[in-house]
Point group: C2
Chain length 63, copies 2
DNA sequence: ACAATTTGTCAATTATATTTTACTTTTCGT
DNA sequence: ACGAAAAGTAAAATATAATTGACAAATTGT
């Protein structure tokens, strides 16, 4: 189950996975894995991602 | 930084930490630690907690 | 078509979320 | 006041999130 909302929100900000990973302080592979959907980030990281992309938890991570 | 919204939402459902932990499939200590605020659950667990308490991520975990 | 950037993916390691057991302290009903 | 349930806390073990390095595949600009 890919997270396409995250991918789209990142695209809307014209950021690469690399740039988002730096903005948020994790590795690029972590962002890639989250978008790919094969794991389960911490809430703290989700919140950091939301802030970097000007979205809320519900918008990017609620099902 | 305690999570008082979580504590309140659980109280509103009249559930003990034990009952919530069982509803969600984790240990009681994990629920306790999240309410106490000294760590950082996974998004998957947060979503399960929200569903058990009929709340959304933004209501319980957004800052 | 070519070069450069971005993305996808893998294996090995490190950091940390979660479990288990166990004990103390609060809270609440009777 | 008493006992039982609920909540708070801690140490050690286990599961898994996240890192690092590296390389292939796909995308984008010129």
């Amino acid at each position: 189950m890919k997270n396409l909302r995250l991918k789209a929100a990142r695209a809307a900000k014209d950021m690469s996975q690399q740039q988002l990973s730096e903005a948020v302080g994790v590795s690029r592979q972590t962002i890639n894995a989250i978008e790919k959907g094969d794991y389960n980030p911490t809430i703290k990281l989700c919140i950091a991602i939301c802030k970097a992309l000007d979205r809320t938890l519900d918008e990017l991570f609620w099902e």
